[in-house]
Amino acid sequence: MRLSHLRNFCIIAHVDHGKSTLADRLLLATGVVTERDFRNQVLDTMDLERERGITIKASAVQMPVQDLTVNLIDTPGHVDFNYEVSRALHACEGALLLVDCAQGVQAQTVANAYLAVEANLEIIPVLNKIDLPGARPDVVAEELAAVLGIDPVGMLTVSAKTGEGVSEILQAIVDQVPPPEGDPEAPVRALIYDATYDDYRGVIVYVRVLDGELKRGMKIKFLSSGREYDVNEVGAFKPLMQKADRIEAGSVGYVVAALKTLDHVKIGDTIAPAKNETVEMIPGFEDPKPLVFCGIYPSSSQDFDELRKSIEKLQLNDASFTFHPESSEALGFGFRCGFLGLLHMEVIQERLEREAGVEIIQTAPNVTYEVKKTNGDIIMVERPAELPDPAHIDELREPTVRASMITPPESIGPLMTLVNDRRGSFVRQEYLSQTRTILVCDIPLAEMVFDFYDLVKSATRGYGTMDYELTGFVKADLVKLRLLVGGTEVDALSVICHRSIAQRRGREIIRALQKTIPRQMFEIALQTAIGGKIIARESIRALRKNVTAKCYGGDVTRKRKLLEKQKAGKKRMRQVGNVSIPQEAFLSVLGRGEEKKKK
């Protein structure tokens, strides 16, 4: 049954193409917010407030358009959340595909467009920022047409900044986005497409009701786990949270149930009535597995508890981030953390440092490896130390991704050099327009964990963008590169890498350590080895002189304090045999030189 008074849509765009600004414009045009709210950037302000724990992220905002109820559904912002994005898209019937027409089609434009196509959405291309002097709506329309296989003529143009073209967009939503389909009389069946944790209200689940309705006081269950809950509250965002009696079939809203942690809320899960056996799971559900791992340790061991609390709290907000305690001889007690991808890892790290207020040490990130043992067992290895004895390894497999890079054609050469350098292989190339080409390559994920984005940026002089998705685990000639400091292996500095680059990587790590480990009373030998074979070695010269010239009666206390400081400084370092390793050393093996900054 068509629920003709409803429309659900989302806005998809590459970052900075104007999604937030356009959303605010639409809320203003429909009277949901006032001119003053608009000037204050409603959605972004709410984001800020959410960070301070005041209001809750508006994952869907309801607005009246003519005599219809229109829901604008927010999608997560970046590539590592492809799965979450696709679930959010499944809560809609239409998508505004927004492109900055000064910048043109970018990697996430394409990635998001394909996700929307897969979700069977009606796509409405919108060319934004036409007020900019550099706007090239014709060229960008052509690019979009190439991506989507549609007619470039007659695409909507808008300036989210000035408001020009906004009413046409509203009309297009009414006319082109199909009303949802569903059976209001059936037992409730709802898709969980997002969830958040709020300090005051606990877990808030965002749902799209397909059939039936969700009401306060109902008993529901989550189909993936079979767990049952009482619904304490339902409602919608207008744009602030507003309680309601029910969420009707075809519509979206929030549910507060008695859930203490996000652990049991799985994005993509289905909600059904508690006592019901007939409602079927909505297809496409996955339990996303982390692909990138790193160790996170407190800089000083007494901060361990503080760090644990912060990590637990972060996980409340992001169940796709996993962690478990681990210990390292060099770093003491900390956590092994798993992330969906590289950006995800960075986002989490930044939030940890900002919100936890504890200084952390992060070990070199690594990917999950699949190991086929000689006895036929297949195990997943999350860190170098877990790798079985080489004698028991039949096959080592590494995760491989398919990366799509959108770039001006003249940068294809440098990009291919980069891809080859990173053990990647060419898949295909497509022209979008005279100034834009898609280059698709397969690359081992491990080769991307350090600085690949930055290098794509520099190979394309800033014009290139990239998106990727996991394609599977592929057999590779991998080795464990052991790092020895003063003859002792330091597990936190050891890495798994491809044999062909082991030599180079070994030298890089040693060079980084030479720069960060201060000279000490003894000479320090730095070696990298594969198995028992040393492949690179260097040393850090011994300190030459470190002695206070004057020390008399009046100085004793002060000198002792200086010595205590020296000792405390040393204590903050990790002791490996005779050697004190500062935390920067652990960080230095992370980078391949340059500062990391990704977008």
Binding site: R544, A549, K550, V556
Partner: protein
């Protein structure tokens, strides 16, 4: 004013110190200099415009009120520059101090002096009052280095002052030198040492220039307007000092101090052997009954405090037995004599071996200390003494 108590487990240490230790040594601080040297972080002030008399009467009052040790094994008059004042003032306060203790012509009695501040007349005053040791801040024999150091005297003045002291019959004379001064060459330092030795002083102190926080030098270096000399060069100077002086019969008995056997400064040795001392004057520190007491450093506040309370102690630090033991090891390690752990254990009733054995093994294996009858810095250990000591604090 109630002094701040930093620790309260002091009774044990106090008892130990009372029953095992002799009378404390006596230190008196005269915080005046003709000018303030840009590298110096001693508690000293340019004398011009200061109320010297006021200070000296506060000093007298402090000694009266707190009481000086009646028979200190050594007496040290330091600064600043105790000889910066007029001869009659010098005579007056020397008498003031000496009047409070038992006379003993065998007692080591040291006075520090800046060559620019000395006259034959002042030497005569010192001699008359029984001063046995004069410590002269020579610093360098090169006028350009003296200029860098902002010293008020030239090389020529050192020679003169030294001759006066000798002629005046002061039994022992020490010369202080500073090396590793910016732009100093190894050759220059070698020449300085050769010349110093040729004068046959009784004692030599050779300090590597230290950029002390709060000094003009420190600020300049941080701002990039001054550079310390190359580390390798400094190390070469450090080694050269040892070699040259050892050869000439001046044994290194502490990191920066050299003397023929029997001519060591007993007062300073007392510091390194963790013996008690009573200090009087602005910024002076005492170590009595296992407790360290520090006086107010500012001149006006020192005088006011003494006036009001009869003392100017602003900080008391009572050491625990373990801290005291650690300090004894750290200080002892600065000396050639080293430290006898059994003695430390006996004094403080703890087991230093239990505390330190691992550290000791590691340092012995690294050729940094030796552990025979006593714990001592090994040859290679002298230049790394701070890193080594840090293992024991």
């Amino acid at each position: 004013m109630t002094p701040r108590r930093l620790d309260n487990d002091r009774s044990a240490v106090a008892a130990i110190h009372r029953q095992q230790q002799a009378e404390p040594s006596l230190y008196v601080h005269i915080p005046f200099c003709e000018t303030k040297c840009p590298y110096c972080d001693f508690n000293s002030y340019r004398v011009a415009g200061r109320d010297v008399d006021g200070y000296l009467s506060a000093l007298a009052r402090e000694m009266d009120q707190r009481g000086v040790p009646r028979n200190p094994p050594t007496l040290f008059l330091g600064g600043g520059t105790p000889t910066v004042v007029e001869p009659d003032t010098l005579a007056r306060y020397l008498d003031d101090i000496l009047g409070r203790i038992q006379p003993d012509p065998t007692r080591e009695f040291t006075v520090e002096a800046n060559p620019g501040s000395l006259t034959r007349e002042k030497i005569a005053v010192l001699k008359e009052r029984g001063v046995t040791r004069l410590s002269l801040g020579a610093q360098s024999f090169f006028d350009h280095h003296l200029a860098t150091l902002g010293r008020v005297h030239a090389a020529r003045d050192i020679e003169e002052a030294y001759a006066w002291a000798r002629d005046g019959g002061i039994p022992e004379v020490n010369l202080d030198f500073i090396y590793a001064v910016p732009k100093m060459t190894l050759r220059e330092w070698n020449e300085t040492l050769a010349r110093a030795v040729s004068w046959a002083p009784d004692h030599l102190s050779c300090y590597a220039l230290t950029f002390e926080p709060g000094t003009e030098f420190f600020t300049k270096r941080r701002a990039g307007r001054m550079r310390s000399i190359d580390e390798g060069l400094e190390l070469a100077m450090f080694r050269l000092t040892h070699r040259r002086l050892d050869h000439a019969g001046y044994k290194r008995y502490e990191i920066s101090n050299f003397a023929p056997a029997g001519y060591e400064c007993k007062h300073n040795l007392g510091y390194w052997r963790n013996r008690p001392y009573a200090g009087f004057g602005a910024g002076a520190v005492s170590y009595l009954d296992g407790e360290r007491l520090s006086n107010e450093r500012g001149l006006a506040r020192y005088a006011t405090s003494v006036g009001e309370h009869g003392h100017a102690v602003v900080e008391r630090e009572a050491l625990t037995t373990e801290d005291a033991a650690r300090e004894m090891v750290v200080l002892g390690l600065r000396t050639q004599h080293g430290v006898d752990l059994a003695e430390v254990d006996a004094r403080y009733g703890i087991s230093t071996r239990a505390l330190f054995q691992q550290t000791i093994d590691k340092l012995v294996a690294g050729d940094l200390i030796t552990d025979t009858d006593r714990l001592r810095l090994a040859r290679r250990g002298w230049r790394l003494a701070d890193g080594i000591s840090a293992e024991f604090v």
